[in-house]
């Protein structure tokens, strides 16, 4: 705890940040108690767009619930598609053709890059730099066009099916993806020169917003937040799913525990995703993209099942409890940002308000995923 908080005077005041505030990226409200420009106490207030997705899961059939999954995390919707179909496939014992697994990985990694690009642009805008957002959205547009052509939607994808994906990728998609990988590498170099090495970025991020590894453990933080605190944990490596073990990629880990570390993790991750996409396109096997006899009515075995995947924000989990019928008995989302945000109240004590907003930016909040 900083010296500011220790010699607290009586002239503190309450400041409401949000629920309509650009820095909270959605409808999140934070109740702050301030001592001048310094934060004494912070309490995030959630639930502004709570829609009870878990109850909807109990009222719909397994297949009817598929479109819901994309509406939790609108930036990395395919990760939610992935965890849901994987969990049901595990429970119902459905085998997935190799080609479908590869298509899932390629599209999910493209989606991860597009999610990181939105974070990158919006985060730098939080710090006061406007132009990187325009560059980032230009790149993201390429991904959205690619994914739109095969999935039919630009944001809330409902592309994965039990036993495969809804339609095959074509040559246009493959050449488009290869061109994007090439283009994105050049753009990442540009971002390095334009933003990462920028003296203002460095001054705003280095040694600001410490989150220790122990704090991550106590709050269950995962993803880039944990990896910026020196924790080498990535679901794709530690609890491998789909065909990820077949690819050669690194898990970027930084030990500085500050805003810069979390920023660097995400920037490096985009490069690693490009590597995965490249390898997957090279190795893409022939065969069916959907199980020829994919069941129309899924009836998983009785019992409870857990599935985790690495979303752009961390370890995303889904627990399903099935009573053997056509809809879930219970369905629980373990959303990564819910845990990541829960440490904000402790991490920002004694910080300057603008620095706390930079810290909040590095948590990469997507509110619909927290509120569910």
């Amino acid at each position: 705890m900083s010296a500011i908080v220790e010699k607290l005077n009586d002239e503190t005041f309450v400041l409401n940040l949000g629920p309509q505030h650009p820095a909270t990226h959605g409808v999140l409200r934070v109740k702050l108690r301030m001592d001048g420009e310094y934060i004494v106490e912070a309490e995030p207030v959630l639930g502004y767009i709570h829609r009870m997705h878990e109850k909807m899961g109990e009222n719909r059939t397994w297949i009817q619930y598929l479109p819901n999954t994309a509406r939790l995390d609108y930036l990395h919707a395919l990760a939610f598609n992935h965890v849901y179909v994987n969990a049901v496939e595990r429970a119902a014992g459905i085998e997935v053709p190799q080609r479908a697994e590869y298509i899932r990985v390629i599209t999910a990694e493209l989606n991860r890059i597009s999610s990181h690009l939105v974070w990158f642009g919006a985060f730098i805008m939080d710090l006061g730099g406007f132009s990187p957002l325009l560059y980032a959205f230009d790149d993201r547009e390429q991904i959205l066009d690619l994914l739109e052509a095969i999935t039919g939607s630009r944001l809330t994808y409902c592309y994965f099916r039990f036993g495969g994906v809804s339609c095959d990728i074509d040559d246009q998609f493959i050449t488009g993806s290869r061109a994007f990988v090439k283009r994105m590498r050049e753009r990442l170099d540009m971002y390095r020169n334009l933003v990462t090495n920028n003296i203002i970025t460095i001054k705003r991020l280095e040694d600001v917003g410490p989150i220790t590894a122990e704090m991550c453990r106590k709050y269950g933080a995962t993803g880039p937040v944990a990896r910026g605190s020196g924790i080498n944990f990535d679901v794709r490596r530690h609890e491998p799913y789909s065909v990820y073990p077949e690819f050669d990629f690194d898990i970027p880990v930084y030990h500085e525990c500050d805003n810069m570390a979390r920023y660097m993790v995400r920037m490096d991750e985009m490069e690693q995703s490009l590597r995965i996409i490249e390898q997957a396109l090279d190795k893409l096997p022939d065969g069916p993209y959907l199980l020829p006899k994919a069941p129309r009515i899924v009836k998983p075995a009785k019992g409870d099942f857990y599935q985790a995947v690495e979303s752009a924000r961390g370890s995303l989990g889904l627990r399903i409890v099935s009573d053997g019928s056509n809809n879930a008995y219970r369905l629980k989302w373990r959303s990564p940002t819910f845990s990541n945000l829960s440490l904000f109240g402790e991490a920002c004590i004694g910080m300057l308000l603008p620095d706390a907003l930079a810290l909040m930016g590095t948590l990469d909040l997507v509110i619909p995923e927290i509120d569910r």
């Binding site: 639930g47 709570h50 453990r217 106590k218 269950g220 985790a308 008995y329 373990r334 845990s339 829960s342």
Partner: protein, 190 residues
């Protein structure tokens, strides 16, 4: 820390049942059954072993005991009917019927609370379950051990009405601030 060593140190607590699970089919490695009395002790051991908390959630098992008793009753009746039928075919007297299974003494339905823990270094997901009666759903809070449990417990209280004794701030998190309903209970009507 090896998985067996972890399982051993948790199982050393009185009344705690640890079952290793097949990861490929279930998605977790250890299934730990605790009671409200042994919950804090078990969580302390898990914390000591260096686990991080993934989530806390509930499952409402309304009508489970009645359904189980009905199943047992139907099975017993089927056995009796089959024995009577085979005796009639042989032209013998039906054998004396065995007593039907009695309903369990405690027919109160239960709520289950599931705690998920995992490790950063060596993958090992623990699903820890504890059951509380639906009429008095009370559990001690683990937010003093895992600070992150604070929000998870508030969410579980929102959805299932489970009271976490000793929780510093058990007010609605995701539901409106004046919510007095618990939507994930199976007898909830909107």
């Amino acid at each position: 820390m090896h998985r067996d060593a972890i399982a051993g140190s948790i199982a050393a607590i009185d009344g705690v049942i640890v079952t290793p699970c097949e990861y490929d089919s279930k998605g977790y490695c250890l299934d730990v059954q605790v009671t409200a009395q042994t919950l804090l002790q078990a969580v302390s051991v898990i914390d000591h072993c260096g686990f991080f908390i993934e989530a806390i959630t509930g499952v409402d098992w309304l009508g489970e005991k009645t359904a189980r008793h009905k199943e047992a009753l139907d099975r017993a009746k089927a056995v009796i009917a089959a024995a009577a039928k085979s005796a009639a075919e042989k032209g013998e007297e039906p054998p004396p019927a065995p007593p039907l299974p009695q309903p369990p003494e405690d027919m109160t339905d239960e709520l289950e609370v599931v705690y998920d823990f995992n490790r950063y270094d060596d993958f090992c997901r623990i699903s820890m379950r504890v059951r509380v009666p639906r009429s008095t759903p009370c559990l001690p809070t683990i937010s003093a051990i895992y600070s992150g449990a604070d929000w998870h417990e508030r969410e579980t209280h929102d959805f299932f009405g489970i009271r976490f004794e000793g929780h510093p701030n058990l007010v609605p998190l995701l539901l409106p601030e004046d919510a007095d309903f618990h939507p994930l209970l199976k007898d909830f009507k909107a």
